[in-house]
């Protein structure tokens, strides 16, 4: 009994962030986080790479995402980077937290959903690219779901406390967090808090990037209540609050950001022959975001832009087994999203100017999803998924309709969004795996694309007007991958081709005058006839028993719009090469992050050439274990060569941080 308790405690300690950090036999860098078991679903190569990179214990969810294959971060500042899957972002992908739909309140995308989940609260990341990601909503780009940690129901009462703190020299940045988890046979709960504050960072070469500092606090709580042995209720809450968050690539900064996210879920796992589990969740979230230019000195007048986003919804997810070879998942969901944003400008000696930049609008979605994984033969696996979704969007106020009356009186629309995919996997002889995927996806236009009203886009220097009559974006997709997986070497090569129809892009409206000072004109979102996107991801991993590990990834994408210009957000040839050595409690790691120049750009959307770069990162650390106490000390130097660089997905000409010394200390206790 005593041994089992210790074993169980050990498992749970593994589940706590710092202990998992301490017990990992891999390199643990100073850029640590209390990430437990971040897993990536989607493809095996994704898992292999992430299982390697997760051990770097990156301090922010964005940095974790940045190392995931096919994931890019659209960077407008040092904080609040917006995730993109391959070339898709915003309304083209589903970004969810534990299955909950959340939409940012900022029309400039300063508050992507990913900022609400801190690593100490992140359980796993589920990435599905293309139409295969339709479980969480019809999509052409895929889905990115971040599951937050729950407090598990356990036979014995246990208590876990973790705390961590880090300091970064490049921005005088402090990052602290603390978590407490109590588990038991009837009720378990978990609470956590994170505080981060950073000054303006120093770019490569030494210059300070003004308006790049930030400050935020994040609170999370989860409680599980066991009803019967196979039933439980789970309550989750996330509160995220940010102040004075700088966005050097934009003309405004976040003065205040506030998010309250709550859910209640009922889960039953009766372990019957057919019905395996059902999860039904109701959720609600409210986001408030206020940006202004009060910290900027080179502006013609002060302005504020508040935004509100409220989403409520529910889903029920049922897992079934039809025999031993068929795993079926059925899901039904509904959600409604209300958004509103406005802008007030304060000219001197003149009346204030006000505009609804996103008039009060409601978008409702109802959908049904069915997925089946069928093991037709020991080496032949088929996966099917299909989803049908209906979305309805309308303006809610007379003021909004009157404002939009300038352009159209038809602002209420209904769209049907079918998606589906088929995947075949052949477990070939000789450790080879071949996977073929075909799919069809569709995405609804985003709120900005429907009802945005003179939204200034810094990237191309145009004001954007929405278009309620937009057609859905559609895509026919094919992926193929070949893998070789051995205990020492794992190699994978994936190629994809997507053909898009009714691609949404902004077109200049001649004769329209913009609102923003210096803006080049006005664009309106329209459907382009089509586009194609193709590309490849390759990865190679080596795992030697002597303590050496290496992971190398390469990504490249190419695409053309129907007008002959390049598809925006195409990735140049880029990759990460990492070597790690572990010896007893020590670890050391060297990593290069590199990219070729991106000179095939779409200037119409504001892309500029991004030069080639190569970074060198060094990390080392040591762990101390004493009974139930674990202490980690780590040091890393990021961008050792102080390279002046920016990546293809960065907005404007703002450079990324230069040489950064990071010290990280983490403590964990459990009993």
């Amino acid at each position: 009994m005593m041994y089992s308790r210790y074993i169980y405690m050990a498992i749970l300690l593994l589940a706590s962030h710092a202990l998992s950090y301490a017990q990992c036999d891999s390199v643990c860098s100073a850029k640590c986080c209390n990430l437990k078991e971040v897993t990536v679903s989607g493809s095996p190569e994704d898992n292999a790479q992430f299982n390697y990179y997760k051990q770097n214990k990156l301090p922010t969810t964005e940095e974790i995402l940045a190392r995931m294959p096919g994931v890019a971060l659209i960077r407008r500042g040092d904080y609040g980077m917006e995730p993109a899957l391959r070339v898709y972002s915003a309304g083209q992908i589903n970004t969810t937290i534990s299955g909950m739909k959340i939409f940012g309140a900022c029309t400039d995308h300063m508050d992507p959903v990913s900022i609400y989940v801190e690593p100490n609260n992140l359980e796993s990341i589920d990435v599905a690219k293309g139409a295969a990601g339709s479980k969480y909503g019809s999509t052409i780009g895929g889905s990115l779901n971040m599951d937050v940690k729950e407090a598990p129901i356990t036979p014995l009462r246990s208590l876990y406390i973790t705390a961590a703190s880090s300091y970064s020299s490049v921005n005088n940045g402090y990052n602290g967090n603390i978590s407490l988890m109590s588990t038991g046979p009837k009720v378990s709960f978990r609470i956590g808090a994170v505080y981060r504050k950073a000054d303006d960072y120093r770019e490569g070469g030494g210059a300070t990037v003004l308006h790049s500092g930030y400050e935020k606090a994040n609170f999370s709580a989860s409680a599980s209540v066991k009803l019967r042995s196979w039933e439980k209720l789970v309550f989750d809450y996330i509160g995220d609050f940010g102040w004075n968050i700088g966005f050097p690539a934009l003309y405004m900064d976040t003065r205040l950001a506030r998010a309250n996210i709550a859910s209640i879920a009922y889960t039953t796992a009766p372990a019957r022959k057919v019905l395996k589990s059902v999860e039904t969740k109701a959720y609600f979230n409210h986001i408030y975001h206020l940006m202004d230019n009060s910290q900027r000195t080179d502006v013609p007048m002060q302005m504020t832009m508040p935004g509100w986003s409220t989403t409520g919804g529910a889903y029920s997810d049922m897992k079934l087994a039809a025999g031993h070879n068929n795993q079926i998942e059925l899901r039904g969901d509904y959600y409604a999203n209300y958004t509103k944003a406005s802008m007030t400008m304060y000219p001197e000696n003149a009346p204030n100017m006000f505009m609804l930049t996103l008039p009060d609008n409601l978008r409702q979605f109802v959908g049904a999803y069915a997925g089946d994984e069928w093991k037709a033969a020991p080496n032949h696996i088929f996966s099917f998924n299909v989803r049908e979704e209906v979305t309805h969007a309308n303006l809610l106020t007379d003021a909004g309709r009157a404002q939009w009356g300038i352009f159209t009186d038809t602002t209420t629309t209904t769209r049907f969004l079918p998606s589906g995919s088929v995947r075949y996997t052949w477990l070939a002889p000789g450790h080879f795996t071949v996977t073929l995927t075909g799919g069809y996806g569709s995405s609804a236009p985003s709120g900005n694309q429907l009802y945005g009203y003179y939204l200034y886009n810094t990237l191309d220097n145009y004001d954007y007007i929405g278009n309620p009559s937009l057609k859905t974006e559609k895509s026919i997709q094919a992926d193929a991958s070949v893998g070789y997986n051995h205990s020492i070497v794992g190699i994978n090569l994936t190629g994809f081709y997507h053909h898009l129809y009714d691609y949404i892009i902004g077109n200049i409206i001649p004769g329209y005058t913009p609102i923003m000072y210096g803006s080049s004109g006005v664009k309106q979102y329209t459907n382009m006839a089509g586009a194609f996107i193709t590309g490849a991801d390759a990865s190679a991993g080596i795992n030697l028993k002597q303590g050496f590990q290496s992971m190398n990834t390469v990504t490249y994408s190419y695409g053309t719009l129907s007008d002959g210009s390049p598809v925006p957000m195409l990735s140049p040839l880029r990759g990460i090469c990492s070597v790690r050595y572990t010896y007893k409690g020590w670890h050391i790691q060297a990593e290069t992050d590199w990219a070729t120049a991106k000179d095939r750009i779409n200037t119409a959307v504001g892309e500029i050439i991004s030069p080639a770069y190569a970074l060198l990162n060094l990390r080392t650390g040591y762990k101390f274990i004493l009974h139930n106490h674990v202490l980690n000390l780590n040091l890393s130097v990021e961008n050792v060569l102080d390279e002046k660089y920016r990546t293809y997905s960065d907005w404007g000409t703002v450079l990324r941080p230069g040489r950064d010394f990071i010290v990280y200390v983490a403590y964990a206790f459990g009993k």
Partner: protein, 275 residues
């Protein structure tokens, strides 16, 4: 016996008589005010002047939505029988103005001879500040008599101005007044002007010979305009109506281009509007 009975009942009789007189009084009051109750003066209207139209047995009340100003002024006329004070709803009403300098400007008489909601609505273009004689001529259909009331009114200049005078490139002297929007809103607004030409030193007349183009801008936002405006076109009686779009609240300037025979006669004037 009878006297005792009357004596006993006297208080009751007096009380009953008092109640009867009270009810009679109330009924007569109700009758006197019935027209006012039926046609209350809208709360937004201000009384400009009141007097008698001699010869028509009519009391005239002149209402406007604000103090009379230089430009296009909407007027509402209420007529009352001078004897019964009953509201007159059937009459022919005509308006005329003459400034202190003896300049007559165009007016728009109430259409038809029936009051709408008890009021005869018309308009006058007031071309200068100061004292102006506003004359209301009434042909009272109830007694078939005609008379007029000349009201001395004071005309002020508003800020921002709601009219301007311009001598165009083709040497025409025009007086341009804004009619709508009176309460501009975000979105699409009707934009209506009245163009009057000075035909001689003492008279103006509506002009229909110009084409108008409008260009709304926000002075606080250099160069910013609004899209999809509809240039005013002639609708009659000197009026030109189109659409102006306001994409945001604040201070707007609506530049008016006057084109005559294809040439720009004036493009330097504008109307200030605040939302």
């Amino acid at each position: 016996m009878l006297s005792r009975c009357l004596k006993k009942c006297r208080p009751a009789i007096i009380n009953t008589a008092c109640v009867f007189l009270l009810l009679l009084s109330a009924a007569s009051c109700r009758k006197e005010n019935s027209a006012s109750v039926q046609y209350p003066i809208p709360s937004g209207l201000k009384l400009v002047s009141s007097g008698y139209a001699a010869g028509a047995s009519t009391r005239v009340e002149i209402y406007a939505y604000q103090d009379l100003y230089v430009g296009y002024d909407r007027l509402s006329i209420a007529l009352y029988d001078s004897a019964s004070n009953a509201r007159i709803t059937q009459a022919q009403v005509s308006l005329a103005t003459v400034t202190g300098a003896g300049v007559a400007a165009p007016t728009e008489n109430p259409s038809g001879s029936s009051a709408v909601n008890g009021l005869f609505d018309g308009a006058a273009v007031l071309v200068s500040t100061g004292s102006t004689a506003l004359t209301v001529q009434v042909q009272n259909f109830s007694n078939s008599r005609t008379g007029s009331y000349s009201a001395p009114v004071n005309v002020v200049q508003t800020s921002p101005a709601k009219s301007y005078s311009v001598t165009t490139a083709d040497n025409a002297k025009l007086f341009v007044s804004i009619v709508q929007p009176t309460n501009p809103q975000l979105g699409v607004n009707t934009f209506e002007l009245v163009v009057d030409r000075q035909v001689n030193s003492t008279n103006y007349a509506p002009d229909s010979t110009y084409m108008l183009a409008i260009n709304p801008t926000m002075p606080s936002m250099t160069g910013m305009g609004s899209p999809n405006n509809v240039n005013p076109v002639y609708t009659g009686n000197g009026h030109y109506a189109g659409k102006v779009d306001f994409i945001m609240s604040g201070g707007w300037q609506i530049y008016v281009d006057l084109l005559h025979n294809g040439a720009v006669a004036d493009s330097t004037h504008y109307f200030d509007l605040n939302l």
